[in-house]
């Protein structure tokens, strides 16, 4: 290794780890605000737990609403993280190194939000563990024809694998942080979490193998989790839910929303931490391209859904897709969804607009909103208008519904802020490794020429 490379490495380490040691006043303000929001979230959860979910706007027929919308929304967001860290890793897309830490943290925190809602939405949440096949003395097991136990298992597995993957990837960087910690007590803390990483050849070899295996394990999860989540709806006979296209349609939507969230988070973070040299314009552009591609998959899903509804000739399907969605109660959500997920991403065909970060950021936020609305359209509007005309009712969210949604956003950002503040936000070792490889290729090329 040349001296210059070593210096460049340590400069990079300094740059990327510095964020951990230098908190600004803005950070504190943001922390306080989001902390307060998270406390409100906890208070509202407690309130719901204590009084019952009658506090929400749900009714019969709309028995599922915000809680399940939020659940699917957050789970979907998680998908981009795993997609970037696992699938792009296996495909040897080097540029992922710049953004994978972000997206993995995002995945983890999104899954954390997602896990809260299905439990909270139960009528008797204290019996949530009945969804798990635990050794009951009466030998009663979950009912496996229902998608819900599978859903629970899938999300739980996903959460666990995401955590392991995140942590494993973090290990060398935790060690770097430990090594550059200014105070002893911090060194101690990071030391504990670094699990005694010394960066030996053996450790690296085992680490690589473990990372590869976990990536392999996580890859099918990207496809399976949202497929199973989609079966929560596809198994039902509700028009608008009962559709075989749901698994791929949901996965596409999930990755789409995930990339939107990655962009929403990475663009401000890149600016705040001056990471332009690490997360380059090309990286952001790649994310935007993927947003466009997954968006196209999703739009294909919309088209097929509508076509099949029309082609089936089934009066209830027609009623759901062509009357309820454009004209029924809460039809604003349908129009927001169509604008945000179908029209807006088409701007990304233009390279000029793709590299306009401010615009891209706004697009990504609107797409997030659009994807939330998509879940709202599917779940709530599907239930608002079903088979029986006499028992139709509209859904009107209460302040508790809105509060829990806002609270979960706060909590998500709170956790994310904590991540930005206390952990290296970019995978140091991978960035270095990538740089080294690039240098080597360059050197080899030069050598070959020379």
């Amino acid at each position: 290794m040349t001296q210059s490379a070593r210096e460049a490495d340590s400069a990079l380490t300094d740059q990327l780890v510095r964020t951990v040691w230098s908190g600004s006043v803005y950070f504190r303000i943001a922390f306080a605000v989001l902390g307060l929001g998270s406390a409100g979230f906890a208070a509202l959860m407690l309130y719901t737990f204590q009084r019952g979910i009658g506090l929400w706007g749900n009714n019969i027929p709309v028995a599922w609403a915000f809680a399940i919308v939020n659940f699917v929304f957050w789970i979907g967001i998680g998908h981009a993280g795993t997609f970037i860290s696992a699938i792009l890793y296996l495909l040897e897309q080097r540029w992922r190194a710049a953004v994978n830490r972000f997206s993995e943290a995002m995945t983890l925190f999104a899954v954390a939000q997602a896990l809260l809602f299905p439990v909270l939405h139960l009528g008797r949440p204290w019996f949530a563990y009945w969804l798990i096949p635990y050794p009951d003395r009466m030998q009663v097991w979950p009912q496996v024809k229902s998608p819900l136990p599978w859903d629970f298992a899938a999300v739980f597995t996903y959460g666990t694998v995401s955590l392991l993957f995140f942590y494993l990837g973090l290990l060398p960087d935790l060690a770097s942080t430990r090594d550059s910690a200014p105070e002893r007590w911090r060194r101690r803390i990071y030391g504990v979490f670094a699990l005694g990483w010394r960066g030996s050849e053996d450790a690296w070899r085992h680490y690589r193998m473990a990372y590869l295996l976990l990536a392999g394990l996580a890859t099918p999860l990207v496809l399976s989790v949202h497929s199973i989540v989609s079966s929560d709806f596809a198994v039902g006979l509700t028009p608008g839910w009962h559709s075989t296209i749901f698994p791929p349609f949901f996965v596409a939507g999930a990755i789409f929303s995930g990339f939107a969230m990655v962009l929403s988070l990475i663009i401000p973070a890149r600016k705040a931490f001056h990471l332009e040299n690490v997360i380059t314009a090309r990286h952001v552009d790649n994310c935007a391209k993927l947003l466009l591609v997954t968006g196209l998959c999703l739009e294909y899903g919309y088209a097929v859904e509508m076509f099949v509804a029309w082609y089936s000739g089934d009066e209830f399907e027609l009623w759901q897709f062509f009357v309820t969605r454009p004209t029924g109660p809460n039809c604003w959500a349908f129009y927001v969804m169509m604008f945000a997920n179908v029209l807006l991403p088409q701007l990304l065909w233009s390279r000029r607009l793709r590299t306009n970060l401010k615009l891209l950021w706004v697009i990504s936020l609107v797409v997030n909103l659009g994807m939330w609305c998509e879940r709202f359209v599917i779940i709530v509007m599907g239930l608002e208008r079903e088979y029986l005309r006499a028992d139709e009712a509209a859904f009107n969210p209460t302040w508790v519904d809105w509060g829990l949604l806002a609270g979960s956003v706060c909590f998500f950002l709170f956790l994310f802020l904590g991540f930005l503040r206390w952990l290296p936000v970019v995978a140091l070792s991978e960035v270095k490794e990538g740089r080294r490889e690039r240098e080597r290729t360059l050197a080899q090329a030069e050598g070959a020429r020379g």
Binding site: I53, I60, L122, W130, P149, D232, R389, A390
Partner: protein, 954 residues
């Protein structure tokens, strides 16, 4: 402290002790509170814990009795059923009978006697009342109309003791028009008796004969016998202002404003008078009077011609019924039509009026003047609420002019608030009494429970005043009965066992064959001429809208205003819960430029009323219907601010008046459980005409035959429960809904939750209006758990909380339910109900009403119709104990039991004799949403409308 150290505790032992005591005391503190229960030491005779007993008693409204059986669990009355032997019930019970049991436990009941100086004892108040009757100016007693022989005897004695005492009878819905009409035509007031089982063609003129007449339950039973599709099927025509349950079952119906109704009736009669042999029955004076009426519109006139033609064709088996709320002119025209059709003695007969004691009674309208003049000593209101129902008399201010005022009231109502002293009124399940049914049958009111609080019935009060307090109503009713049987004092009984006779009658609930004998009055049709001339020549082009006041199908006249079941009960046609509204047709609403939910202001003279508008397709144009019984003004009561009080306009029930209707910009907050008014077509409920049904029977059943299913097949064998509901017989009257609520401990949730579609009914009635918005067809479909064989709710439950039983029931396991609500999402019939909050906590005594056979559900669990599984299992246990098979028809569901038309049939598929099975083999039986492959156990029978040839085009 020193002692502690002397124990030589070691540190570790202390730690163990502390930990153990913390754990133990902490854990015991967490345990549920223990409560001891005690078995009977000496069991009262006839009480078997856990086994319900039934006692016959009677529900009396406005002097008319309906025989019922009250179910009692360990001394608590919990449910009312019809008395199968009683001629006014025939086993059915209506909405009000079903709901009446809740009033017994009403937390709002008058808690104790209240004198001018505050709370007092009942005895002292009674003493004071007796004293007040004897001194000062003449006492005045205001009572509900009555047919009770005992009360009439007590009143006679009262009058003998206090000759100056004056008596008024008051009931807001008391219909005197039929007595006036019979008096005019026959020379004396008479009670018409309709025989629907003999009527082939019926014309209902503003008559909701299935619902709001004294013998409606019987009418409904009789009516149903002629509604099976076939040659004997009767044909019902209805002409009415608002849409009523009877109107929904009519084969053809027309909406007519009250003034049009008179002209329509005259047109029908005029048509009849043209028909050959019928022509002779009417004198020329009547005919010329009929010709005076302003002409009807084209549709109405054509309808009148058609109805007259059909009535004439069915001569001898035709019947024209005028409703209790119609004016005398319509009643007279109906009587004349019946006479011309030869109905009298066949489909129509007459008996003496049931409420009596009217001789010497003063109309209530004279009371205000007497009060102003200071001529009233003690003023007593017993069981009536005229301050609320007759605000035009301004009694709320005038009552204070009486020297003393007393009110016997069930709840602190408006009249009680106005009176100086209040006595708690006993519920009928707490008191002895007697009354006559609509046909005169002598019925007994028998208490099931000691009064929950010291209280008195009206009979007790009057008897006490006449003979001195305390009055034993038990003895008094027995003595009346002895007198009726012509027996002297008990010691003189020779050769007649009064005790046995009395016990038999009380056990049965009524005296057999005690109905009034039919009288054969002579008709004097010419006496109708002046009335008809006046009624028909009244100008028809006055300004404003015609006001039509109606009996509320949920609160009656307002006496049930504190009954939570009835307050929440959706209106049969508007589906409005917790309130009433000004009902208008869509054309009238368009004229006003307002829509459902907007507030309008009605003005009659100087009186004003603001009411929310509700569009009811099929309502007559140019008129407004207001239902009585809502809009109570007593603060902090359940009914406070619920709906509007139509009496405020000062128009007595049964009279035609015009009101100005002014749109306002205000909006009302309505709780409508269905917000669709008109559908192009309905997929879940079918309707056919008789002609098309007989010529070309539909094939619904084959839809079910080969529905593919992913679910494993199951061989259902042995007893298999199923239900068949005949839509031809459902008028949407709601009796089943309340019966289900009483049987299954279904909670009331309040207006806010109803507005958010969270009502908890296990059985609801879906109302569909289809066709022409001005003359819609109405379909009422009772919707309850269909008990699907391939139930979509079952396979989505993650914890097996809803499962299938081997006898075909879709069962709900409450204590396994965690409340994912997936089952509800997946139910195409939307019959599952969720406990959004803890609805199980009832207030105070209301707990006593609960059926101990049905689990009370906790917060967060799903619930739904069980096909009354508690009744099924009880019957099975009984059969097993007696080592026999279940008898056909042994299990009766609560909804089935109370239904007056018998629309609901229940039984086992292996019981070949059952009505349920016979029905589902009819070609018109269909399964709701059969195409979804759910294979429901519940079948509906398509509604059959019996149209005449002209309509069907045959």
């Amino acid at each position: 402290m020193a002692e502690v150290f002397e124990l030589h505790l070691r540190r570790r032992d202390l730690g163990k002790l502390v930990a153990a005591s913390l754990a133990l005391s902490g854990l015991t503190a967490c345990a549920e509170r223990r409560e001891k229960i005690f078995p009977y030491v000496r069991r009262p005779a006839g009480v078997v814990p856990g086994v319900a007993t039934h006692y016959a008693t009677s529900v009396v409204r406005d002097g008319f009795a309906v025989g019922v059986l009250a179910e009692s669990h360990e001394g608590r009355p919990t449910k009312i059923e019809g008395n199968p032997e009683h001629p006014a019930s025939l086993g059915a019970a209506g909405v009000f009978e079903q709901a009446s049991v809740l009033d017994l436990y009403d937390p709002a009941r008058v808690a104790g006697s209240r004198g001018p100086l505050g709370l007092t004892s009942r005895e002292s108040l009674e003493r004071e009342l007796s004293a007040a009757f004897g001194r000062g100016a003449a006492p005045w007693l205001v009572l509900e109309p009555t047919s009770s022989p005992s009360l009439l005897r007590a009143l006679a004695a009262l009058r003998a003791r206090f000759p100056r005492a004056r008596v008024s009878f008051h009931a807001p819905l008391a219909a005197d028009a039929r007595y006036a009409a019979t008096e005019r035509l026959f020379g004396r007031p008479l009670e018409p008796q309709y025989r629907f089982e003999r009527a082939t063609v019926v014309l209902a003129l503003g008559a909701d004969f299935l619902h709001d007449m004294p013998l409606s339950l019987r009418h409904a039973r009789d009516f149903a016998t002629r509604r099976a599709p076939g040659p004997a099927m009767s044909r019902i025509y209805a002409a009415e202002t608002t849409l009523t349950p009877t109107g929904t079952l009519a084969d053809e119906r027309i909406g007519l404003a009250p003034s049009e109704l008179v002209r329509f009736a005259a047109a029908v009669l005029a048509e009849l008078a043209k028909q050959g042999e019928l022509a002779t029955a009417l004198p020329d004076g009547v005919k010329s009077a009929l010709a005076r009426g302003a002409p009807l519109g084209e549709t109405e006139a054509a309808f009148a011609r058609k109805v007259a033609r059909e009535l004439a064709r069915a001569r001898g088996a035709a019947l024209v019924v005028a409703g209790p709320g119609t004016p005398e002119s319509v009643q007279v025209l109906a009587l004349l039509a019946n006479a011309a059709l030869g109905s009298v003695g066949r489909t129509l007969s007459f008996v003496e009026p049931v409420p009596s004691g009217q001789d010497g009674a003063l109309p209530l309208a004279k009371l205000p003047d007497a009060l102003r003049a200071g001529d009233v000593g003690a003023l007593v209101f017993a069981g009536t609420n005229p301050v609320y129902s007759a605000p035009e008399l301004a009694l709320d201010e005038l009552v204070a002019r009486a020297q003393s005022s007393f009110c016997l009231a069930h709840v602190e109502n408006e009249t009680a608030r106005a009176c100086g002293s209040v006595l708690p009124e006993a519920h009928y399940l707490e008191s002895w009494g007697d009354a006559r049914a609509g046909d005169g049958t002598l019925s007994f009111v028998q208490p099931l429970i000691e009064p929950l609080r010291p209280s008195a019935s009206a009979l007790e009060l009057v008897a006490g005043l006449a003979f001195g307090f305390p009055a034993s109503t038990h003895e008094f009713v027995r003595d009346t009965e002895r007198a009726r049987l012509g027996l002297g004092p008990a010691s003189a009984d020779i050769g007649f066992d009064f005790e046995a006779e009395w016990e038999r009658n009380v056990q049965r609930g009524f005296v057999e064959h005690s109905e009034f004998a039919a009288v054969n009055p002579t008709l004097a049709p010419e006496r109708a001429v002046p009335l008809l001339e006046q009624a028909l020549s009244a100008p028809s082009s006055a300004s404003g809208f015609e006001l039509h006041l109606a009996c509320s199908p949920t609160l009656y006249d307002g006496r049930f205003s504190e009954n939570a079941w009835l307050l929440e009960l959706p209106h049969p046609l508007t589906k409005q819960s917790w309130g009433n509204a000004a009902l208008v047709s869509s054309r009238t609403a368009a004229m006003l430029g307002r829509h459902t939910g907007d507030v309008v202001e009605l003005t009659h003279g100087t009186r004003r009323l603001r009411a929310p508008l509700v569009i009811l397709p099929g309502h007559a144009d140019g008129s407004v219907t207001l239902e009585l019984g809502f809009g109570h003004a007593v603060a902090d009561q359940l009914s406070h601010g619920v709906g509007v009080n139509a009496s405020v306009l000062g128009v007595p029930f049964g009279t035609v008046a015009r009101v100005e209707v002014r749109p306002t910009s205000a909006k009302a907050d309505l709780a409508l459980t269905e917000d669709h008014w008109l559908l192009a077509e309905e997929a879940v409920a079918h309707e056919l005409t008789l002609a098309s049904y007989t010529q070309n029977p539909p094939k619904y059943e084959h839809d079910l035959a080969a529905q593919p299913s992913l679910l494993p097949s199951f061989e259902y064998a042995g007893t298999q429960w199923a239900m068949s509901i005949d839509l031809s017989l459902c008028s949407g009257c709601n009796a089943c809904v309340v019966a289900c609520q009483a049987e299954n401990n279904t909670p009331v949730v309040g207006k806010d939750l109803v507005k958010n579609s969270r009502e908890m009914y296990w059985l609801r009635i879906d109302r569909y209006l289809t066709g022409n918005p001005d003359a819609p067809r109405v379909l009422q479909q009772p919707m309850l758990c269909q008990h699907c064989e391939k139930a979509p709710c079952e396979y989505v439950c993650p914890v097996n909380a809803t499962v299938h039983s081997t006898d075909g029931l879709n069962e709900m396991v409450y204590n396994r339910c965690i409340g994912t609500r997936f089952c509800s999402n997946n139910c195409p019939y939307k019959v599952r109900r969720f406990n959004w909050f803890d609805f199980s906590g009832a207030r105070g005594a209301t707990l006593l009403q609960r059926n101990p056979d049905v689990t009370v559900r906790e917060r967060g669990v799903m619930e739904k119709c069980t096909y009354c599984v508690q009744r099924i299992r009880r019957a099975e246990i009984l059969a097993r104990r007696e080592q026999r098979r279940l008898r056909p028809g042994e299990v009766v569901t609560a909804c089935q039991q109370t239904c007056a038309t018998g629309a609901i049939a229940f039984g086992s598929l292996d019981d070949e004799s059952s009505e349920m099975l016979r029905r589902r083999r009819e070609p018109r039986a269909f399964a709701a949403f059969a195409e979804l492959g759910t294979r429901p156990r519940t079948r509906y029978l398509a509604k059959i409308r019996n149209l005449d040839g002209e309509e069907t085009g045959s």
